[in-house]
């Protein structure tokens, strides 16, 4: 066998024996290290997968959504705006959207109710998301009773239950006919919640939005790229829990590095002194400590990443989804499409493995360059 390889194997052998002599300390260190990597890798997997799915789902979002503000609050948009906006050159379609929120006092859940102008949307019938079907224990053909804003019952027959695969779009959605929507919310005729606008040339979206604001100064256009940016900046690192997770991980690494960089224990110092006195060179001692750092950090990194993948993509990220669910009664099942971003994992590797290994080697170099007798006596 190659002499250099044999040397590395022998030093690794000694490293593993040395680590096993302080089994309890090193196992607890490995466990905490693994947990830190696991949480960080889970966050990376979860956010990357969610952003990617958001990109696919929101491809069909309207080019511009026009809202109307009254006294700083969002208000209904007169449907007559649609005609004037439709006359702007470059606008291909203007669709008044009817949607709102319904609070179901029976189970304490919030639904998003939308009117569909498709021919299939017939009166007294509704398409519902699987989250509602699960929460209310409904099947196709059952009746969903809602109370209108005039305190009258509105019975909707369930015509379709959307599959669980559409949960990220529609877990809490009830799609009804426009007439039923107006009855439910006592919604004034000739008004819409907002206007969805399609534009022929995507490069003209900004110009058309400016023309809309000129035409209706109280309007607020939300552009498609702004909707997409909302989800690309989702779980921004400055956001509450995200920064708590990142700060905990950072603090843990500072504690690891501090523990390692502030010096060696008397036992470790004596071990280095003995090794030097029996003929080990400084290079060998440094190699020993290098392998010690690698064994702990690489094992923690690899196991942390594997467990994080299982946590996010096989178990639907229960740690994060608990926080997202919060007080929601209806929530999607986060069955995300797996994505492994090699660049992000490389960054995680260099942020976790490299600093720890460096912090292990540096104080050892100071001890290894001193006289063996002094090292053993210290």
């Amino acid at each position: 066998m190659n002499r250099s390889l044999e040397r590395h194997l022998n030093i690794l052998e000694f490293t593993l024996s040395s680590l096993s002599r302080r089994k309890a300390k090193n196992l607890s260190l490995l466990t905490i290290y693994l947990l830190v990597v696991f949480i960080l890798a889970s966050l990376v997997f979860f956010v990357t997968a969610l952003k990617r799915e958001a990109g696919i789902i929101l491809q069909d979002a309207p080019d511009i959504v026009v809202q109307r503000l009254v006294a700083g609050r969002q208000d209904l948009v007169p449907a007559s705006y649609a005609g004037e906006i439709g006359a702007i050159r470059g606008v291909t379609a203007v669709r008044p959207r009817l949607w709102g929120y319904y609070y179901d006092g029976l189970i304490g859940a919030n639904y998003t109710v939308m009117a569909s102008d498709e021919a299939t949307a017939s009166s007294d019938r509704a398409t519902i998301g699987s989250g509602i079907a699960k929460a209310r224990n409904l099947a196709v053909g059952d009746l969903l009773p809602l109370i209108t804003y005039q305190k009258a019952p509105l019975m909707l027959e369930i015509s379709t239950i959307l599959p669980a695969g559409s949960d990220l779009m529609a877990a809490d959605l009830i799609v009804v006919a426009p007439g039923d929507f107006r009855t439910l919310f006592n919604f004034p005729v000739g008004q819409a919640t907002d206007l969805a606008i399609s534009v022929r040339n995507p490069k003209e979206i900004g110009t058309i939005a400016a023309k809309i604001v000129e035409l209706f100064p109280e309007s607020r256009p939300v552009l498609k790229n702004e909707i997409l940016r909302t989800y690309q900046s989702l779980f921004d690192w400055r956001g509450g829990m995200t920064i708590v997770i990142l700060a905990s991980a950072l603090l843990s690494f500072i504690i690891f590095a501090w523990d390692k960089a502030t010096g060696l224990s008397a036992e470790e110092r004596r071990e280095i002194g003995i090794l030097k006195s029996i003929g080990w060179e400084t290079g060998d001692v440094l190699l020993l400590k290098f392998w010690e750092g690698i064994v702990i950090s690489l094992t923690a990194f690899l196991l942390g990443v594997i467990l994080a993948y299982g946590h996010v993509f096989f178990l639907s990220a229960p740690i994060f989804t608990q926080a997202l669910k919060g007080w929601s009664i209806i929530y999607p099942r986060f069955q995300l499409i797996p994505v492994v971003d090699a660049l992000q994992l490389s960054v995680l590797f260099f942020l976790t493995v490299v600093p720890y290994t460096t912090a292990t080697v540096v104080p050892c170099w100071r001890a290894a360059t001193t006289d063996p007798d002094a090292a053993m006596r210290s």
């Binding site: 194997l9 022998n10 690794l12 052998e13 593993l16 969610l50 799915e53 696919i56 789902i57 491809q59 069909d60 979002a61 309207p62 959504v65 609050r73 669709r95 919030n110 639904y111 998003t112 939308m114 498709e118 998301g129 989250g131 959307l162 695969g165 559409s166 949960d167 990220l168 779009m169 529609a170 877990a171 809490d172 907002d194 969805a196 939300v222 909707i227 940016r229 909302t230 989800y231 900046s233 989702l234 779980f235 921004d236 956001g239 509450g240 995200t242 094992t299 690899l302 594997i306 993509f313 926080a323 669910k325 919060g326 007080w327 929601s328 929530y331 999607p332 499409i337 797996p338 492994v340």
Partner: protein
């Protein structure tokens, strides 16, 4: 077997598992993407603007179309009521406009 070889084998196995997970992600993605696109096409006419990540607050159910100052709107320095509000930041176009 030497302990060093056992460790190297364990590391090689873990690396192989990581590579397999990457392959797993790639293999299931094509079918899952096709299914997701089918669902998106089905709801295309509704022109949805937001993901249903949580349903506890308006500004986290539809963050792209939320009001300005939706979070903390009850009074200055009010604590966030909803757990999801501490995870989902206000949309950049609402932050930039202020």
């Amino acid at each position: 077997m030497r302990r060093s070889l056992q460790f190297l084998l364990f590391t090689a196995f873990s690396l192989a598992l990581c590579a397999l997970l990457s392959l797993h992600a790639r293999s299931v993605r094509a079918a899952a993407d096709a299914e997701l696109k089918g669902q998106v096409a089905r709801l295309k006419n509704l022109q949805l603007t937001d993901l249903c990540l949580t349903t506890e607050a308006r500004y986290t159910r539809h963050p792209a179309l939320a009001d300005r100052h939706a979070a903390y709107q009850d009074h200055p320095l009010a604590l966030e009521h909803f757990p999801s509000g501490s995870l989902i930041m206000p949309s950049p176009h609402l932050r930039d406009a202020q």
